[in-house]
Amino acid sequence: MTQQQPVSITLQNSQDGAAIADAIMADNPGAQRRSMHAMTKIDCPGRLEIRANSVSERLGRDWDPQEIHMSVISLSGTVDEDDDYFAVYWRQ
């Protein structure tokens, strides 16, 4: 049922947003990206994870998962965050 529902996140097409989107695509098999005007939407079955070190690498600076607030437009799913990641998933 809900396990098959994709989670999703929509990000601004800013510098940071683009790096986050790239990190998500690299780290989440099954993720699918859709580019729209001024934003990028990524769907992923079950759980989508944004890893801080993955984004930091792409940005060339330390990126704190809490910075997601600067780039997120919308998300669908339950939020889970800790020091080194920000994730969206569906609860069973």
């Binding site: 529902q5 001024a38 607030h69 600067m70 919308s74 939020v79 020091d83």
Partner: protein, 510 residues
């Protein structure tokens, strides 16, 4: 002894619920006097999981950054007369509707989330509520600041708080939010956080913000993008809060279901104004109301309610009606406004051929058959110098307060009209949805300040339309009446001389 460094989750616990304590000198029920009267049972507030672990240091930092960027755009737009870049001055009527109808609701949300931030017994929820409270203040104040520039040039925006408290169509949003704020904290959470900010939010946000993007209103679009990350926090709060209530006790399920039914319907009726805006006021259109409803409710809502089924929650009652009506309500609303634009602080105008073609294409089953003819007839009258204005006053629905122009779902030639009796009086509603709401709380809904009743009772400045318009603070001949011949139209055409050719649908008289 090993030093156990804390991770974000553990720290966050100390930074929020860890600050709270079980009182012993005062009764908890006295500290939180509104937590039980709705019948909602919460056994364990600690079971609330904070979806976003946002502490104030991060909040200040990120919000400050967002504000710097947003105000740079607002300043730039003002400095460079950004209003010259919009598609056509008719677009501004969407902005007028926004500041008159929506901005005051942001303010109400700000105040009432403060109410929740004080009166909900759960510390984690209080923290989320207070962040939402100042987020909503943010939205209110940034909207005022953005629209301040438009107010200098265009009409209808100049006295928005005065008008919100008085005008006939503005009692639709005002009564909506008054209803939520006068309810208890858990109903408010369900009505606003869940039904409005989660289920229906895209139906308010996307039309206005995308409408702005499509029509060259860079400042409003920038506001929209900037507010979006606040909105994702709000949405998440709504969904998680409803799940929390449903998980706490089975007895909560029917109460929450009742609220979902009520607030889906009230929210849907409120969105009538948005449907009209999308289909009629945007020179360059984003999508039709019907398309928006299909995308943002029928598809998205289906998945949501499939998920909530595990708790025993079903889709809102009358969702099927909304689906069936989607080919009608925007036209019915434009009809109302066309009729009464002499008493409104927005313009309306005759629909040109290009627009008619769009409407026929988007509404193949309803537009040509039920609505096109009246627009053609009105256009003819206007071309003969007899533009139609309705000199009567419309009956309003006792609950949603929209004028009673909605039709029966299975018969679009018959006005939908319901009656209830309470305290020896008759009360009229526009639909089964609104009648149900009235019948469930007749004592509450009989209190409503209906603008048309109030005019007839002599409480609105006098017995004539001009007196009422003065009481409304409508600048006659500027805020009201048809766009054609308005000071705004003259101003716009003067500005556009030498900048670009007149838009294809400028004049009604061809």
């Amino acid at each position: 002894m090993t030093a156990r460094k804390l991770n974000l989750k553990q720290k966050y616990g100390h930074f929020t619920r860890g600050l709270d304590w079980e009182p012993s000198y005062q009764n908890k029920d006295d500290i939180f006097p509104f937590a039980k009267y709705e019948g909602i049972k919460v056994h364990d507030w600690d079971a609330w999981e904070d979806p976003f672990k946002l502490t104030m240091d991060a909040y200040w930092k990120f919000q400050a950054e967002k504000e710097r960027k947003l105000y740079a755009v607002i300043d730039s737009m003002a400095q460079n007369n950004g209003q010259l870049g919009i598609t056509d001055a008719r677009y501004l009527n969407a902005v007028k509707l926004f500041i008159q109808a929506v901005t005051p609701l942001e303010y109400q949300a700000h105040r009432h989330f403060a109410h929740l931030a004080r009166h909900l017994p759960g510390a984690g929820l209080r923290v989320a509520a207070q962040m939402q409270s100042i987020d909503e203040l943010r939205h209110c104040q940034t909207q005022i600041h953005t629209i301040s520039h438009y107010n200098k040039f265009f009409d209808g925006m100049h006295d928005f708080t005065h008008m919100h408290d008085r005008l006939w169509y503005l009692s639709v949003p005002k009564s909506f939010f008054d209803d939520a704020s006068t309810a208890g904290p858990f109903e408010f959470l369900t009505s606003i956080s869940f039904a409005f900010e989660y289920v229906l939010t895209n139906l308010l946000f996307v039309p206005f913000m995308s409408g702005a993007a499509y029509n060259g209103d860079m400042a409003t679009v920038t506001f929209g993008f900037s507010a979006q990350s606040d909105e994702s926090r709000h949405m998440t709060l709504g969904l998680e809060a409803v799940r929390f209530l449903l998980e706490q006790d089975e007895a909560n399920v029917p109460i929450v279901q009742g609220w979902i039914d009520k607030w889906f319907w009230r929210g849907y009726r409120l969105l009538t104004l948005v449907g009209m805006m999308m289909d009629y006021m945007l020179p360059k259109k984003v999508m039709s109301w019907a398309e928006a409803w299909e995308t943002y409710y029928e598809q998205a809502g289906g998945a949501l309610f499939a998920d909530l089924a595990r708790y025993g929650i079903r889709e809102p009652k009358y969702a099927e009606i909304a689906k069936k009506e989607k080919g009608h309500i925007s036209h019915q609303a434009w009809t109302i406004f066309y009729n009464y634009t002499h008493a409104a602080a927005v313009h309306t105008w005759d629909v040109d051929d290009q627009h008619l073609a769009w409407l026929r294409e988007k509404y193949p089953e309803t537009f040509e058959q039920f609505y096109e003819q009246r627009y053609l007839k009105w256009r003819d009258q206007a071309n003969q110098g007899k533009r139609f204005y309705n000199n009567g006053l419309p009956q309003l629905c006792q609950v949603c307060q929209v004028p009673m122009a909605f039709t029966e779902v299975d018969d679009p030639t018959t006005i939908s009209f319901r009656v209830s009796e309470f305290g020896g009086d008759k009360y009229h509603t526009c639909s089964d949805g609104c009648k149900d709401i009235f019948d469930h709380e007749p004592e509450k809904f009989s209190q409503a300040w209906l603008p048309v009743h109030q005019i007839f009772q002599g409480n609105c400045g006098g017995a004539t339309v001009p007196e009422v318009l003065d009481w409304y603070h409508i600048n006659k001949g500027a805020d009201n009446m048809d766009y054609a011949g308005s000071p705004e139209e003259a101003q716009w055409e003067k500005w556009m001389e030498g900048r670009r050719p007149a838009p294809p649908f400028a004049a009604a008289a061809e």
